[in-house]
């Protein structure tokens, strides 16, 4: 370890050039993913050990250019200029060299040491390209290393070249394009002005010639930098405008276009002088696959099939480990509730911590599978085709073709859906997609609809639930269009997108991608979700000892005392010591006989047979027992009746206690406090508490309803809950409740992920509040409209 030399390298290149594949090949598992400071652009960093070197390797985002078009481009050029890595590795797709060299040209202009990694040489050879590497090196002034990153070919050569440069064995002096005389003159003038008006520190980072070119290109970000850093910046910018006008009048085009043209000229010059085509117009695999996958007739069916398949895999396959995890946490909960005897600590550990952690981890299988599928779709190249096919529809809604997949995933669970919006490059598209995708009714909301539709619209349950889903879709469309106009006015992001060749993804790449996402979800979203769950747990279980309307301990005690008196009486009649009724032989035999009868009649009912045979068996058995123990049957029946009565009474008491505690907890008080706001929607305080508890996860709404409506722990809980709902609500309020549940604030997990993905509390709070306001407005219209039509 001693004496290892430490250097920083970075990889820059176009999307689909194999950038991440090279990064994975060099770093292996020694990498971590984070964000660039202040922006949501992903930053990948890893370490490479090579001979006596340790390299820190940065994977810059995939970019086509170094303008200020996207955050990715700004982040990349700022990193190279400000952090000054010891060497830039520019990876290019050898099958697509001409377009890839456009970025190379711009990187050369930064004047930093650079190596060209010529990737996918095997495919290029197959396509008939013959690349004269030494010639290319001479034209660009930088070393070039042919490689096949996906098979690890050439990576050692690359590291050797890096070593030679760092040891001073080779020199690198990047060549850069020269522009037409008029532009060069303007650049020289501006360069001189910048040298006198910019602080030396700034010039060390940003070369004045490059700044001058960027000013002529009207790069807004650089103009901003000049305004902030240069003395007399107004004069400089006036001069820039004058130069632009002059060039435009002489050459008939603005400098931005002329500069881009000449960069392409430089790139295609280098391409033409070094690449020879042996075969021409050979039909390639990508064209053949696309003849099916994006064809007019089969394109849409295949697209729907792939989306459907992804959805099924994520949620059907994902539900299996999901159930294991939730069973595991239930088991842990039971275990701890036996170990811990202090009530508040037990509640904290079991309901707060184990419940909270469980609610985070339960989504993990879905997220892992989903991101494996997304990585597969992206790395094969299908994702771009999916956007190509669905853009027509999504554009109509004010969205982007790539918004389609996250929206569909939203029907399963909003959490992975929000994370899936990473495929969208443009931030506006991402924000709008995230804002509206919570209106896609996730599977956790389904139990609410099932309960209410079952209780109030048993004959039309399917249609009613469908209408709720449809309402969500319609609202998403309407809101997307509104957001596009109100939040992001002006021109929409262009849909100029590369359709990359189909390629086989690498196993390693897929695994790393899946693992990164899973770890990110657990680390970052986990903290917010856990904190939120604990807060809701605290609100709904404290104060632990509220002032109650009755002395429940005494009521429990009274009932138990009564029960014991009755049992003692029965024991006396049966001539048995009081504690031994359960083991009294005839009672046990009667129990068995009734149980056997019960089992048998269930079987017969299933086969839709009459119960007469089972009844006669029972009668016969009972007579047999009575012949051994005369006169015991009436006593046994009294005993059974008492046991049932006791259990029911205790259950009712416990339910009443739970309901009263719930209504007097902080959450309950909050519910009563907020209730007046929801009154115009036809909701009472009980509905309000249920909705508040739904913030943790919407499936909890149903459980809370059970607690508040004092259902207790009877066997036919669902039926009883429906009954008490029917007593307390009208079909209209029930429908409005479903509508509200659909629209209002998504669960805490979704909020946590939105916060993480948009890296902005502003948008997170906006998402939370607009959904709730929208829920109120839509519910109000339906409820009051329904009342006018006398539906209530």
């Amino acid at each position: 370890m001693m004496g290892k030399k430490h250097y920083t390298l970075c990889i820059a290149g176009n999307p689909n050039s194999g950038k991440t594949t090279l990064f994975n090949a060099l770093t292996g598992a020694k990498q971590h993913v984070g964000n660039w400071p202040g922006v949501t652009v992903e930053k990948k960093e890893g370490t490479v050990e090579f001979e006596d070197f340790t390299f820190t390797l940065i994977d810059l985002p995939g970019i086509y250019s170094l303008t200020a078009y996207s955050l990715e481009e700004v982040v990349s050029r700022d990193f190279i200029l400000r952090e000054r890595p010891d060497l830039v590795i520019n990876i290019v797709d050898a099958t697509n060299l001409e377009r890839n060299l456009y970025l190379t040209t711009q990187l050369l202009e930064l004047g930093v040491p650079m190596i060209l990694a010529l990737n996918m040489m095997d495919e290029a050879e197959k396509k008939g390209f013959r690349i004269k590497v030494p010639q290319l090196e001479k034209l660009l002034g930088i070393p070039a290393v042919p490689m096949v990153a996906s098979r690890g070919i050439g990576t050692q050569d690359l590291l050797n070249t890096v070593k030679k440069f760092l040891n001073g064995e080779i020199q690198i002096s990047p060549r850069r394009p020269t522009y037409r005389r008029e532009i060069e003159n303007a650049v020289k003038d501006l360069e001189a002005a910048l040298r006198t008006h910019l602080p030396g520190e700034f010039q060390k980072k940003y070369p004045p010639r490059w700044l001058a070119l960027k000013l002529l290109e009207q790069d807004e970000e650089i103009i901003g930098k000049i305004k902030r850093n240069a003395t007399d910046s107004d004069a400089i910018l006036r001069r820039v405008d004058a130069e632009i006008e002059k060039i435009t009048s002489i050459l008939g085009d603005d400098p931005e276009t002329l500069i881009a043209d000449q960069r392409y000229g430089f790139a295609s010059g280098a391409f033409k002088e070094t690449v020879r085509m042996l075969l021409k117009d050979r039909i390639n695999l990508t064209d053949q696959i696309d003849r099916v996958l994006t064809s007019r007739i089969l394109g849409i069916p295949f697209f729907l099939l792939i989306i459907w398949g992804s959805f099924q895999l994520t949620f059907t396959l994902g539900n299996i480990p999901m159930n294991w995890i939730s069973d595991g946490f239930n088991f842990l909960g039971t275990l701890f509730s036996h170990w811990i005897t202090i009530p508040w600590l037990k509640s904290l550990v079991v309901d707060g911590i184990i419940g909270g952690v469980g609610s985070v981890l339960v989504f993990l299988p879905n997220i892992l599978i989903l991101f494996l599928i997304i990585a597969l779709l992206e790395d094969t190249g299908y994702m771009a085709r999916a956007a190509f096919i669905s853009d027509r529809v999504m554009h109509f809604f004010g969205l982007h073709g790539k918004s389609f997949i996250p929206m569909v995933i939203g029907f399963g669970c909003n959490v992975p859906a929000v994370m899936a919006t990473r495929v969208l490059e443009n931030n506006k598209d991402r924000v709008i997609t995230i804002l509206v995708l919570t209106l896609m009714s996730c599977s956790a909301r389904l139990p609410i609809y099932v309960l209410f539709a079952g209780a109030f619209f048993p004959k039309h349950a399917g249609n009613v639930v469908f209408s709720i889903y449809l309402l969500g879709i319609v609202l998403a469309i309407v809101m997307a269009r509104i957001f596009r106009v109100v939040l992001f006015p002006g021109e929409s992001a262009p849909f100029v997108m590369e359709l990359p060749p189909y390629r086989l993804p690498t196993f390693k790449g897929l695994m790393i991608h899946m693992w990164d996402r899973g770890a990110m979800y657990v680390q970052k979203a986990g903290t917010v979700i856990l904190a939120g769950s604990m807060l809701i747990w605290f609100l709904s279980s404290y104060p632990a000892h509220p002032r109650l309307s009755a002395d429940y301990a005494r009521l429990f005690h009274q009932e138990t005392a009564r029960h014991e008196r009755v049992l003692a009486q029965i024991a006396r009649e049966a001539h048995v010591p009081a504690g031994q009724l359960t083991t009294y032989p005839p009672f046990r035999q009667y129990d068995e006989a009734y149980e056997a009868f019960h089992r048998r009649s269930q079987e017969l009912l299933k086969k839709q047979c009459a119960l007469t045979s089972a009844a006669s068996v029972l009668k016969h058995t009972l007579e047999g027992i009575q012949s051994h123990y005369p006169n015991t049957l009436p006593i046994y029946q009294a005993y059974r009746q008492e046991m049932t009565r006791y259990q029911e009474a205790m259950g009712r008491l416990r339910a009443r206690l739970a309901a009263e505690k719930a209504s007097k907890s902080y959450a309950g008080r909050l519910g009563k406090f907020v209730a007046p706001v929801l009154h115009p929607l036809g909701f009472d305080w009980r509905n309000t508490i249920a909705l508040i508890s739904g913030l943790v996860a919407k499936e909890i709404v149903v459980g809370t309803m059970g607690v508040i409506y004092k259902v207790g722990d009877a066997k036919n809980e669902g039926e009883k809950l429906m009954e008490s709902l029917r007593k307390n609500m009208t079909p209209l309020t029930a429908y409005v409740f479903m509508v509200f549940s659909l629209i209002y604030l998504p669960c805490i997990a979704t909020i946590g992920v939105i916060r993480r993905e948009l890296n902005s509390w502003k948008w997170t709070l906006f998402s939370a509040s607009y959904t709730t306001v929208l829920a109120w407005i839509v519910s109000f219209i339906i409820y009051q409209g329904g009342r006018l039509l006398r539906l209530g």
């Binding site: 078009y69 043209d261 027509r392 262009p494 997108m497 590369e498 359709l499």
Partner: protein, 82 residues
């Protein structure tokens, strides 16, 4: 008129080729188009439209690029006779 023999990219027929002569866009869209290879003098070929009729798939500088018709309308092409 300079546009006499020029035709918007959006109106090419499938399989038709041409050379870009003029771009009528400004700002971000223009910059993006240039980054993807849509510059004066570049040869383009219209491959096909998406199943729903928009966007279109264009071959430019050896790359397949998807572009909406409303964006392609502002790229003017001199059609190469086949």
């Amino acid at each position: 008129m300079e546009t006499d023999n020029l035709k918007p990219l959006s109106e090419l027929l499938p399989g038709e080729k041409g050379v870009i002569r003029k771009m009528r866009t400004k700002g971000a869209i223009r910059r993006r188009l240039m980054d993807m290879g849509f510059v004066g003098g570049a040869t383009v070929e219209f491959e096909k439209t998406a199943p729903l009729g928009d966007p279109m798939e264009i071959l430019v500088k050896g790359c397949h690029v998807s572009i909406r018709k409303e964006e392609a309308r502002n790229v003017l092409i001199e059609v190469t006779p086949s």
